[in-house]
Amino acid sequence: MTGTRFRNKGQFTTPLSIAALGLVWMIAAALTADPQILPGPFQLIAPMRQELASGELLYHLGSTLRRVFWAFVLAMTFGLILGLVMGRFPRVDRWLDPWLVIFLNLPALVLIVLCYLWIGLTETAAILAVTLNKIPNVATVVREGARALDPELDAMARVYRLPAWVRLRHVVLPQLAPFVAAAARSGVAVIWKIVLVVEFLGRSSGVGFQIHLYFQLFDVTMVLVYALSFIGVMLLVEWVLLQPWERRVRRWRNA
């Protein structure tokens, strides 16, 4: 009975917390008393509807989401391979570790500017810049997972001569799943922010481009409309895709 009551209380924590944030925003807007500096949350509804009706909002959200998707897929794929190889082969790790440290500490902005300078203001440069920014983080997290792989399961796979693909899919990847999930969740959060910078600096579509446009016009309302819309999309991705996937790969732990 007590457990149920606590669980029910927990269910209201998230909406209450978001409502509290909204309240703080409303109070700040009221104190500022200037919608051009800080509009209240309800003042965003009309311009958001207008942008939705004109198709502008969906077009730019779609452009940003497409870039986030490709950068995410590429960063996760290459980061996973790199982290796995570095975690499994100490000699490779010794060679590549300094590279990883350098890339981890290279500011995102430097990579973005260099990609644009070397490749041009193209879609390839934009996605490559975001991917290169994220690969070192994914590799670092996955490397820790690869270092923690159970050597006895490895031995079992060798004794029973499991083919390499079966070993990877059924022995190695399930052990890496918590690390991959952690890298994926932090990856999505970081990637979309970098995508916005990339769009801000050198693309003619996307949420970042629109924020750049309305920054020049000093239109705080539209900046917030685009930023909050994309935050909404990313929360949807988190709740509809990432969290259910994480629950699925962890279900054996709760069985």
């Binding site: 006895e152 029973y160 054996w252």
Partner: protein, 197 residues
């Protein structure tokens, strides 16, 4: 015939195994005994082909199975899938029958985490026998079990070995286990460990 001819094995430059030469005939069960830390598990890992960094030669069949000290199952896979992934040649009926044979009938869909230690060891045993190996290697397979469960497991293992007629090499600290299961007992001694001539 399984021929084991280990001449030396070093860990970080320190010799841990000296001359360890023995054969195991088809259908024969051999127990390897000796004090803790002398290198019994190392010998099993060499015979199984897990450890290849040694001086000497081992002639072993391709079809071999190992029961590890811990059950070493895939915790994210059901009991049935633990058999099917390792032995894809089995159909579900045969795999389920293998579970029934070790007393795990009805637990096909259970994850290893839902099984007791004794049941996990049974599953590990089922996995070993399901592939019809010519050589079975067991590393203290009954350790950490209560006396009653250990006795049940020893009887089950004895019956399975008798049914399949495979060669078996196992490590134990228990004289009773060795006496019940083994046709021959090899006693390791010295430093580096050797088999007395």
């Amino acid at each position: 015939m399984i021929r084991v001819a280990i001449d030396a094995k070093y860990f970080n430059g320190k010799p841990v195994l000296g001359q360890v030469h023995f054969n195991i005939a088809a259908g024969e069960t051999v127990a390897l005994v000796g004090p803790s830390g002398i290198g019994k598990t190392t010998i099993l890992r060499i015979v199984a082909g897990i450890d290849t960094d040694f001086q000497g030669q081992v002639q072993r069949p391709d079809a071999l199975a190992m029961v590890f000290q811990e059950p070493t199952l895939l915790p994210w896979r059901s009991a049935l899938d633990n058999l099917l992934l390792v032995h894809p040649e089995l159909d579900r009926t045969k795999a389920a029958a293998a579970l029934v044979r070790v007393g795990l009938g009805g637990r096909e869909s259970a994850f290893p985490g839902q099984l007791s230690l004794g049941q996990r060891r049974r599953l590990s045993l089922a996995r070993a026998f399901a592939g019809h190996p010519e050589l079975l290697i067991m590393d203290e397979p009954f350790v950490s079990l209560d006396a009653e469960t250990a006795a049940e497991m020893i009887n089950l293992t004895e019956a399975l070995i008798a049914e399949t007629g495979l060669a078996t090499l196992f490590v134990t600290h228990s004289a009773a286990e060795a006496q019940q299961l083994a046709d021959r007992v090899l006693r390791l001694q010295g430093m580096p460990a050797q088999l007395p001539a």
